[in-house]
């Protein structure tokens, strides 16, 4: 069978314990359901997965080193490119870490703007995930409906940020542009619209018996496993743990809003699916409250750093709840022009690390289902 007996570095390390009657296949780096260039070496016994090992690094960009050789302000565009689907959360994590380090005050309006835009971005990320997950499961149409709604979000986010995907919108001490009244009006029109779409999503997909059979009782990742692997976000909430950084380490003005942390105790792919679907509604609820109570004022602090600013020495950590889980920025500064060390804790990376254990013994199709339910963004894993 094997035409290329040698294999590459990782395959050679993977193979020795393989049995005769099993099949070692490479899922990826170019595979439709790995959402980018992720490679998973899988040992198959028939359709069952005996063991598997993810191989990363195909889109590694060394963001951490780039942080060390460009100035504090110049690092901004990098933050939007780590996780292109929820770029504003990464923006926020960097802003938060440096603001904590330097003690920069953020005006109240800026905090509200951050909440609105970040939550809107979360909705768009979840919508895309929903479509892409259904694509993994073989349904082609939902992603088009999701894109239809997401398009409106992107148009709206373009109004203040000017970009559509890799936002670079937040600044130390605020944001780079104010929200226009037109944006707020359009947003308040959009929220009821999206709410009216959600029942359609539910009837088309969530209630669909084929989908239910595909995701229920698949890919158990329970609380203990989450702890050992450091899984966060919808994965841990799908395991019944109400862990959300917005509540656990309240940052910004999240403590002023009334929202629920959706949890499902089943710990399977369907629980994670439902957590995300509920989160869309919760995010809409937060946005609604934020629009109603957004104060007037400056959108950028007067003490906001100038371009050639350097942070004072020290170290700071800041965590943000991204669409995929807990995003943590750790910055250490020696008072120099550039950060001394930037460490990015990306949620997808930790969530994926449990895949090898979760996918042991399942059917190949279930592995795809599990992989999709983790909601991976490969550039965030590889950084």
């Amino acid at each position: 069978m094997s035409v290329f007996p040698k294999g590459d570095f990782y395959t050679r390390h993977f193979q020795p314990s393989g049995k005769e009657e099993t099949l070692v296949v490479n899922m990826g780096p170019q595979h439709p359901s790995t959402h980018g260039v992720l490679r998973i070496i899988v040992e198959l016994d028939g359709e069952y997965i005996l063991r598997c090992e993810p191989v990363l690094g195909y889109v590694h960009r060394m963001h951490e080193k780039m942080g060390e050789n460009r100035s504090w302000v110049q690092y901004w565009p990098n933050t939007g490119r780590v996780d292109y689907l929820h770029a504003l959360a990464w923006n926020w994590a960097y802003a938060g870490a440096v603001e904590k380090l330097a003690g920069i005050e953020v005006p109240e309006r800026a905090e509200y703007i951050r909440v609105i835009t970040c939550e809107l971005n979360r909705v768009s990320s979840h919508l895309l995930w929903w479509g892409a997950y259904l694509l993994d499961l073989g349904a082609f149409t939902p992603i088009m409906y999701a894109f239809d709604d997401r398009e409106e979000i992107m148009d709206m986010l373009q109004m203040p940020t000017g970009s559509r995907l890799t936002y670079c919108y937040y600044r130390f001490g605020g944001v780079s542009a104010d929200l226009s009244d037109e944006f707020l009006k359009r947003l308040s029109r959009f929220i009821p619209y999206l709410r009216s779409r959600l029942p359609m999503y539910r009837d088309l997909v969530t209630e669909n018996v084929i989908l239910r059979k595909r995701v229920e009782d698949v890919g158990h990742i329970d609380e203990d496993m989450c702890r050992r692997y450091g899984c966060t976000g919808p994965v841990v909430r799908g395991a019944g743990v109400a862990y959300d950084v917005r509540k656990a380490e309240p940052y910004s003005v999240y403590d002023r809003f009334d929202f629920r942390i959706p949890t499902y105790p089943e710990a399977d792919a369907f629980a994670r699916y439902m957590v995300r679907m509920d989160e869309i509604e919760e995010s809409l609820k937060i946005i609604e409250q934020a629009i109603a109570t957004i104060p007037d004022g400056p959108y950028l602090s007067k003490s906001a750093p100038k371009p050639k600013w350097s942070a004072p020495k020290g170290e700071a950590c800041f965590a943000v709840e991204g669409a995929r889980g807990k995003i943590t920025y750790y910055v250490a500064s020696d008072g120099g022009r550039t950060p001394y060390r930037v460490k990015l804790r990306s949620p997808s990376y930790c969530n994926l690390s449990c895949f090898a254990e979760a996918a042991k013994g399942v059917i190949l199709a279930d592995a795809v289902s599990i992989l999709g339910s983790l909601d991976l963004v490969i550039p965030e894993i590889d950084r």
Binding site: E64, R227, K313, A316, C317, A319, Y330, D382
Partner: protein, 200 residues
Amino acid sequence: MSGRNLSFPKLCALGGDMGQMGIAEIHHVRPSQVRGAASLLLDRGWFIETIACLDLREGILVNYFYAHFTEPGRIVVRTLVQREEPEVPSIADIFQGAEWHEREAAEMSGVRFPGNPNPLPLLLSEDEESHPLQKAFEDRKPISNIVDEFIKAECWPAFISREEIEAEAEKRAEEAAAAKAAADAPAAPKAAKAAKEAEA
């Protein structure tokens, strides 16, 4: 933050303020005590966030970040390893998720984690020999340049003696200065010429 009473063997616990720096507690341990800390934290329900290495003049500072699903706060367990022998025992059998963090730290900062079940490169290519997050000697800063209080802490000398580092730094600086002077001497006329050309 009080009342947690995490009593694993450590050198000292110092610093940390959730509001100021986002880290509730910082515990300094010896490399051999990392595993004990990890298993205690797992028992108490903490999960590992990430492992971050800082390349310092004194050595490589390995930080383990832990957080909790129900309690607020973040605990950092940090240990310093000498550059000559950068080894910390692996905690991948306690926190399975640490396997990847350790592999990343190993290839990026050159710390070895004996006991890691799968010590392959993770993000870099398999034949990469350099460690990108290791800094050049002149870029390495002593820890006092980042955080003062660690130096004041009594536990720091347990890691390393201050004089040693300073002596080595001085020696290096002298060498560098000598080398520079040697290089500059013949290069000076050239540089002047180049400057003239640039002007023209």
